[in-house]
Symmetry: C2
Subunit: 379 residues, 2 copies
């Protein structure tokens, strides 16, 4: 007996805080209810100051404490080694597509960098790096339509490249790296935008990890950068100060006015993750949510998963339906059930359910139930 009749779904929706639906948007994405509520409650008056967190100086002791706690919570949650800095920078991942080569391609005289193309955003990173040196795509999933992470022969990684760039989770296709390449002396750079703080990752494998805020950290417009300090000091001479990692680090991300609300929000998100038991516990819940949906796909002859089992993301679950008409009906009926923003990426099509940290288990359950019910009716 399923509970996804329209009445059932309506009851579930009504039970949710503030009339909120289950929002499967790929980003900006659903943020945790408890953090949204807290931010709303103290929106006019932060910590009894009589002013909003939006309205106080980034140099006030109250905001400096917020920024410091945000950075130190991140360190704690990912067990970041001491020789790494945590930076909050303007712009999202796309700004890092430029900042990474501007800062790191000068690490070696050849000004070469290697990239792996695994989807839409890694392709964007490759394109945006082009003005800064010789950018080599050493592996690509393009011929396979990005349904899997390509094999990498690390013996073929040129020793003179300044870094190797990967996208750890691919939002548009719904794939992820399960085992990160071992790059030896070559710094590994990871765009973890769509999975930061969603699974346990060994940051010591990376020279640099960056992530936009708008999936697992908070409002759009800011990126978190975790960088091994020895990589500082090689920025190209025309690098803007706000994109220069060493300069941002020197100012402890407060050298100019940062996105104070976003950093505050990310602190609240990380406080909540810590309270729930840390990244390991969050990963367990995320695995559970994803498994609910993948189980439906694996037991169905109706839905067509879009990517290889071995490289499935637990953040973005993608699949298609037997026809454009059924896809259209699926998306429309899902929306009526309060299951929002399930349309696949425009270049990929089909359905994409983005189930970031902010998506409660009930959301994945509601979608799994709807999928089964839809298949029974229309399959």
């Amino acid at each position: 007996m399923e509970t996804t009749t329209e009445a059932g779904a309506a009851t579930k929706r009504a039970a949710r805080v503030g009339g909120r639906i289950f929002n499967f948007s790929p980003g900006p994405a659903m943020l945790p209810d408890e953090v949204m509520l807290r931010a709303q409650q103290e929106f006019l008056n932060y910590a009894g100051m009589g002013a909003s967190i939006l309205e106080i100086s980034h140099r006030s002791k109250e905001f400096v404490a917020v920024a410091e706690e945000a950075a130190s919570l991140f360190r704690e949650l990912v067990s970041l080694p001491d020789n790494y800095s945590v930076l909050f920078m303007h712009g999202g991942a796309k700004m890092q597509f430029s900042a990474v080569p501007m800062n790191l391609i000068g690490l070696k005289a050849a000004h070469r960098a290697a990239y792996v193309e695994t989807g839409v955003f890694s392709a964007g990173a490759i394109k945006d790096a082009a003005p800064y040196g010789a950018i080599e795509t050493i592996a690509s999933g393009r011929a396979d339509k990005f349904v899997r992470i390509p094999e990498l022969d690390m013996a073929r990684l040129p020793k003179e490249v300044s870094y190797l760039h990967i996208t750890t989770n691919n939002t548009a296709y719904g794939t992820r790296w399960n085992k990160f390449p071992e790059t030896g002396d070559v710094p590994l750079v990871g765009d973890a935008t769509s999975e930061i703080l969603s699974r346990v990752m060994d940051y010591s494998q990376f020279g640099l990890v960056y992530a936009s805020f708008q999936k697992n950290l908070g409002p759009a417009g800011t990126a978190l950068v975790a960088i091994r300090k020895e990589l500082f000091g090689h920025a190209l001479p025309f690098t803007p100060p706000l994109l220069n990692y060493a300069a941002v680090d020197k100012g402890q991300s407060l050298g100019n006015t940062p996105s104070t609300f976003n950093i505050y929000f990310a602190r609240e998100v990380m406080r909540s993750i810590k309270q729930q038991g840390g990244v390991r516990e969050i990963e367990r819940r995320n695995d559970l949510k994803a498994q609910l949906l993948y189980d439906v796909l694996d037991q169905s002859k109706f839905y067509k998963p879009l990517v290889d089992k071995a490289h499935r993301s637990i953040m973005n679950v993608t699949f298609d339906l037997p026809s454009a008409e059924l896809l259209d009906a699926f998306l429309k009926e899902a929306a009526r059930e309060g299951l929002y923003a399930l349309k696949g990426y425009r270049e990929v099509g089909g359905v994409r359910a983005s189930i970031y940290n902010g998506m409660p288990l009930e959301g994945a359950e509601a979608l799994a139930s709807f999928m089964k019910e839809f298949e029974r009716r229309r399959g």
Copy 2:
């Protein structure tokens, strides 16, 4: 009979929404109560969508409508000529300190630009432009300790400079340009961060005007750029796409995920300005607020105004007290009266009252009363 006894001030404070104090922070700064309230009210559920404005795609029809309305409200409020574009860009004014030369210094083969130094932020703009060409400070108020806007002999502006950069209002010192230089064929670039939408300005005098959000537009982390379209297309080859005006314009500021919450907030601010009667009415109120404070200064032998009458800002009112002890007592007692963040800029000292659009008349009245009362007691 003044009303600034502690009890009187407490009553005023209690009457304000959400226990909010009068916040004279230079930025991030006090935002209009009515906008803060509205943003709080619909924080969990925007326009009945069941999701926050923070949580929906920047490409959703709902957000695209927000961004379009924000841009068109700005056009309307400042009577922007048709041959200008309005852009929303990541980072505040400091990001523009790099973006302006990256985009405009290539307008002429000499790669020269002229700057006027009128305070802390114009000095920052000059410094950050240095990597991109020959940057010439054609006039500076430094010898006068920035108490006035220096005289400019436009006949001496080299014809081969790509642009002339000024800071229209100087936050740290509290001065402003009353009459903008007539630059003929040389595009005039204005940093209007601390006074955007606060007074009537003729945008057709400028090739480009930019402003951080965090004083008169909304939360920190975003800049508004109004640019004459004929200036597109001269960016230096290494300009990051997100700092390239033509590229941002092509994507209508939505080419990557912008700070959606900030743009939404700015739209609400501009809706409110329009409803109140537009920039002319806002300017009238701002003049009134500033006059209240300047009247106290002009009638006092106790307070020492820091800048020349002829160049006084209506956004940042600066003055000093006869001694460090009195300054300290003034700031402490003001804070107890709910008059927050009055300490002057660290390189300037004294008192700075930032009275942006979000500061109600009552805030300026409360400060003026406190100043008179403090002078009576301690003068």
